[in-house]
């Protein structure tokens, strides 16, 4: 369904004046300026969707920013046809007057539910392997007595696979029970069960030959795919000693830590998982294969040892380092903070240096696309899944939600953020990849993003003419245009999938 048209401001990728060094950008700005002076003020932008009508409401000058009106669902195509142009939402500022307003308040019932759930009284259960019954140590177990209020109890299994949950008795009705093993098993989900002490909860062991959603959409990955393309992973570090990964270099940009320590930061292996989706070089059933195994993989660690947040300084420094190291693509499976101009400057500088950045939409259950993915200079990636690419009883079932695609097995993950800033969608529900201890399953736009980064690398490896261009904004624009041309819509709608998924 077509959405109501909205106002946006078009500005050049860098600065506020169109660059003579970019003839396409300059011509576009001059054309829109002329359109703003015409009677109907409507310009048809040529795109892969056909002619997109853009109403030019105002122009500051021939080479200066334009105020336009366009349909939100057309933005992804508009960005793809003019990658060196930023599309900014019109922002309205309020008077700084503080007023009290009527609004919802948290009721005492909700508080009470949480209090009761945390009262003393442990239910001891054991997490076991569905194959052989061996205990599973180090698994996070989360029992929700009330899922909507996120009330319940959680704990981590000991060496015997046991965990004691403080649920206020020896038996308790549970709405949802999630089990998140550290590695080697699929995360589990059981609904509406009565949990009793002594129960054994099985989890499914990972079969490395299993066709998960990444392997479904990007099958048959040859070890030569992605050759000649350098990809930087800006994340929690990549396990340099994992047998399935070849990390060719990188940098730790966390202030106060060793710059050469760009390995995994000792948390749950997020960056290692992301890297494996792009570049794992194993062979099932003993290993797994990434989407573009032959890329030159570099790790830029921005999350500190032990798992604290990443600062915008570390992120901007990592983007600069990736540009200086001649990465072609940068993967940023992170976000969620408020927009900041430092990261925007670094991302714009990367675009101007011929580098394309992919960023995760965020996992806030259909909230607007988070920063930095929402920034125009990023390729923002939502997460989709496919029924039949995860075993029964696994957590991935909890992510199935509408909208469904033209192929009704495909769906947009319930956790995925969405909106007109979305450029691409990628497989991100129940993804098997590398973790420091071996292999693990994770879900998120964090996983969907490297799937599309890998697909872009695989695609660009066949476009040597683009890779050999001078490293400037014309190069990054050419890469984005090639990526857009290879996209296939799955039928979710533009705010869910942007231009679709990269088909290679």
């Amino acid at each position: 369904m077509a959405q109501k048209k909205q106002q946006y401001v078009l500005v050049p990728a860098a600065g506020l004046t169109a660059s003579e060094a970019n003839p396409k950008q300059m011509q576009f700005f001059q054309t829109l300026h002329a359109t703003s002076l015409a009677a109907n003020k409507v310009h048809s932008v040529s795109s892969e969707l056909g002619a997109l009508p853009v109403k030019v409401l105002d122009s500051i000058g021939e080479t200066k920013p334009k105020l336009i009106e366009a349909a939100p669902e057309d933005l992804a195509a508009l960005r793809a046809s003019h990658p060196s142009v930023r599309i900014l939402p019109v922002v309205y500022f309020q008077r700084a007057v503080m007023r009290y307003e009527i609004g919802p308040r948290i009721g005492s019932a909700g508080v009470k539910a949480r209090t009761v759930a945390r009262a003393a009284g442990g239910i001891s259960i054991t997490i076991t392997s569905s194959k052989g019954g061996a205990p599973v140590a180090g698994a996070l177990v989360v029992a929700f007595t009330n899922f909507a209020q996120r009330a319940g109890a959680q704990g981590t299994t000991n060496a015997h696979g046991r965990v004691s949950l403080n649920l206020g008795g020896s038996s308790r009705k549970i709405e949802r029970l999630y089990v998140y093993p550290a590695s080697a098993f699929w995360p589990g989900l059981q609904r509406n069960l009565t949990l009793k002490s002594g129960m054994k909860i099985p989890v499914t062991a990972i079969d490395l030959a299993y066709v998960d959603c990444v392997r479904h959409f990007y099958p048959g990955n040859d070890l030569s795919f992605g050759q000649g393309v350098t990809v930087g992973v800006i994340d929690s570090g990549v396990a340099t000693d994992h047998p399935g990964l070849v990390v060719q270099g990188g940098q730790n940009t966390v202030p106060g830590e060793k710059p050469g320590d760009y390995g995994d930061n000792g948390t749950e292996g997020h960056g290692t998982h992301v890297a494996g989706i792009i570049a794992a070089r194993g062979t099932p059933p003993r290993g797994i294969r990434g989407v573009a195994p032959a890329v030159t993989l570099r790790s830029y660690r921005v999350f500190p040892q032990g798992g604290n947040n990443a600062s915008n300084y570390a992120i901007a420094k990592a983007i600069d380092a990736g540009v200086a190291d001649k990465c072609d693509l940068l993967n940023m499976s992170l976000g969620g903070g408020s927009a900041d101009t430092l990261t925007e400057e670094a991302l714009t500088a990367a675009h101007d240096a011929g580098v394309v950045v992919f960023a995760a939409n965020g996992n806030d259950d259909r909230q607007p696309v988070s920063f930095p993915a929402a920034f125009s200079m990023c390729q923002a990636v939502s997460a989709m899944g496919r029924k039949g690419t995860f075993p029964k009883g696994t957590e991935s079932y909890g992510s199935v939600a509408s909208p469904y695609g033209k192929d009704k097995k495909n769906f947009v993950a319930s956790f995925s953020n969405i909106g007109s800033a979305t450029d691409l969608t990628g497989p991100g529900v129940g993804v098997i990849s590398t973790v420091p201890a071996g292999f693990g399953v994770m879900s998120g736009t964090s996983m969907a993003t490297p799937a599309e980064t890998g697909a872009a690398a695989r695609l660009l490896a066949t476009h040597k003419n683009i890779l050999s261009m001078p490293r400037d904004q014309n190069r990054s624009s050419a890469m984005i245009t090639a990526i857009a041309a290879a996209c296939k819509k799955l039928g979710f709608g533009a705010i869910y999938e942007g231009k679709g998924t990269i088909s290679v």
Binding site: R114, A117, L140, V142, F144, F147, Q149, R150, A151, G152, A153, Q154, R176, Y178, Y180, P187, S236, T253, P255, G256, T267, H270, F303, G307, N308, N309, A310, S311, N312, Y313, I315, A316, K317, D320, A321, A324, S333, L334, G335, G336, G337, S338, D340, T341, L342, E345, A346, A360, G362, N363, G398, S399, F415, M442, S443, G444, T445, S446
Partner: protein
Amino acid sequence: MSRYILRYGGSQSAPSEHLESIRATPGLRVLDQSPKMLLVDADESSLRAQLKAMPGWSMHPEQSYPLPDTRKKIE
């Protein structure tokens, strides 16, 4: 005193004379440095006054981003 990031917008590394001037800001401590940036602990008004005379620099407060996680948790 708060933590700020100073970024040089030129295509080359930050000029050394600029870096010397910034380091001379009263009470300023440099916490980290890259070819285009400085992470500093400083007084905002002193820093802004120092940067006024040096074109090409931008100043940003430090902020942080969490590691994404889709695991459900008790709140």
